[in-house]
Symmetry: C2
Subunit: 342 residues, 2 copies
DNA sequence: AGACATAACAAAAACGTTTTTGGCGAGAGG
DNA sequence: CCTCTCGCCAAAAACGTTTTTGTTATGTCT
């Protein structure tokens, strides 16, 4: 059986309170005693039980990563994984441990945010995957626990958001196509009521307007972010439109771009020679397709890292709640043809 | 503040002990009292604090997922994610919660397996990513805690393994190529000392032998499982071999297949028309490449699910430690040409 | 009727920490 | 010499549960 604090106390000839204060580097324990205790603890291989720790202590609570919709098959594994890598990267660098909980819209109804936090002694949380209609979106702003939402805009005294400027990024992506001579652009749209879709639409609209182009229902293909829908959507599109009515496809996600390219190839068209396609997200997979897809990298791993840092800073009171907008990166690969270039 | 067991006790006019036994459905509490307590608990939104719970109770401990090497950039994100999905799937179905810990070879030295388990009240664990040289590989067999290793063969009284028959699967994959008329096959090899590489090599060797083919260093390209190494490896290969000295590339992983295809394409060759390529793992990404890659699906999600189930069964004493070999699936896609077919 | 089992709960111990409060001796200031 | 502070540590309370042990009333058997 592993050593407890009591074993250390007995071996060092002090009480458990002194051991605790010695190991936590309190001031009021003599330097010699402290060192003796630390030596004994090391010799016994003592490690404080974390359960007991955060039970007793007021401020030794845990930080959590709460993932919503993780189990639903969105095909976007990369997102959560990258996020987790960023978060655990920070955690390992700062020797903190984070607890992960997977929830969904249903479990949010069964167990409130406060209940969840209380149940697991959660001092602060990072939340990802929240839909605007989710119950937790109402609970977070009124909670006294600091939290950081990723890709979800929520305001409150103790809420920070880590996002990127989706509007600007998508504007930039659209402009990128326009700059390369594309005037007839079809937008492959994501889930209609999703916040991200709305923002990206706004970005596209903004760029279209600025360049005197029109964005109408006629040149939008609607999907729910699934690859297959882009595939069938593109096929549908060409049933009512001539092949040369469009030169580029502006997709709201990489997966949609993959579906679009697949459809075009199946029709015997080449990318980017016949049609240009751009994606959005910066998934690893865009490196492995043919052609490699030009996309906007969301730097999701960095998002995770920054979210973790922000949360810890908030918990330590060294940084106020804030809205952090991370930079995005337009990654030029090989799926776009420059029409201007002769 | 959330309700504690004391609040429930007071509101129901009983002691906390009775509340605990009532909520945990013990026999020795009157049916009426029990129902009253449960009603009060519901009204107060009471949820037992899990930290306190597993501190006090002997058998209310936690099950853990211990991931080694998660933060190292292996580009195999899909693996861990799929695994986690399987595990959390089981967890959500059975209302148990699992704690995740990410470690690596270094942290294994700093904190022993037993210390880790004691520190976090872990009753049993699922381990993934263990290298054969890792310290935990010696600790697990002598531990009294049940555990399940995934893709790592370890024997011990309380150790189960969930694996697939790598040898047979790779044999089957090799035979698949041979059956389609391929005689000149180049093996794209993974990390040399890795267990999985050795097993897959054995499978390939076995199939080669059976068909009277020779597997020599001359037709093996060595890599460390990285895509770039396959890419450069294939280029190197053709510097010393004529283009028609080979018809198929047998890759030990999907990533290697992706790199191989990329190299071939860059040389102006077509897949599968000029060269056939097969992968191994069944990553989602093999669906998005061009051509889609024929591969062996490891059913990693199911591995996670079964591992979780097995561990729980072991903890509940309803299933002994065992070596579980899950089925694999050869997935035919479009990266192999049938030479026999005219 | 007396001994004894049983149902149903109360009371208290235990889990392993952190934190608060108490106490004692030594040195300092008046 | 008396008090006051302070360094240092012991003692005990607290965290929120589960589990063990005790107790009381009620019934059952001989």
């Amino acid at each position: 059986m592993a050593a407890t604090i009591r074993d250390v106390a007995k071996a060092a000839g002090v009480t458990i309170g002194t051991v605790s204060r010695a190991l936590n580097n309190y001031e009021d324990v003599n330097i010699h005693t402290r060192e003796r205790i630390q030596r004994v603890a090391r010799e016994l291989g003592y490690r404080p039980n974390q359960m007991a720790r955060c039970l007793s202590s007021k401020h030794m609570k845990r930080i959590a990563l709460i993932l919503s919709g993780f189990l639903e098959d969105t095909m976007l594994n990369d997102f959560e994984t990258m996020l987790m890598k960023g978060i655990y990267q920070f955690a390992s660098e700062h020797d903190i441990d984070i607890a992960m909980y997977v929830i969904n819209s249903t479990t949010q109804l069964e167990k409130s945010y406060e209940q969840l936090c209380y149940e697991y002694n959660i001092a602060g949380a990072i939340l990802f995957g929240l839909k605007t209609t989710d119950p937790y979106c109402e609970a977070l702003p009124v909670s006294s626990r600091p939290c950081v939402t990723i890709d979800t805009e929520l305001s409150g005294e103790h809420i920070s958001n880590v996002t990127l400027d989706d509007v600007a990024a998508f504007d930039e992506l659209t402009q990128y196509l326009i700059d390369r001579g594309h005037r007839n652009i079809v937008l492959v749209h994501g889930r209609k009521n999703a916040m991200v879709s709305m923002e990206r639409l706004a970005g596209a609209y903004q760029a279209f307007e600025r360049n005197g182009l029109k964005l109408t229902h006629d040149n939008i293909i609607y999907t729910n972010f699934h690859r297959e829908e882009a595939l069938s959507g593109v096929n549908e599109y060409f049933k009512t439109h001539s092949p040369d009515s469009v030169t580029a496809f502006l997709c709201m996600s990489d997966m949609l771009a993959i579906g679009t390219i697949e459809a075009l190839k199946a029709m015997g068209r080449r990318v980017p020679e016949d049609y240009s396609v751009v994606g959005y997200d910066g998934l690893e997979v865009t490196n492995y397709t043919d052609p490699k897809i030009t996309t906007v990298d969301q730097n999701i791993k960095q998002k995770g890292y920054e979210a973790a840092r922000l949360l810890c800073d908030m918990l330590n009171g060294v940084r106020p709640a804030q809205k952090l907008v991370l930079p995005h990166t337009l990654v030029e690969r090989g799926s776009v043809k420059d029409l201007a270039q002769k």
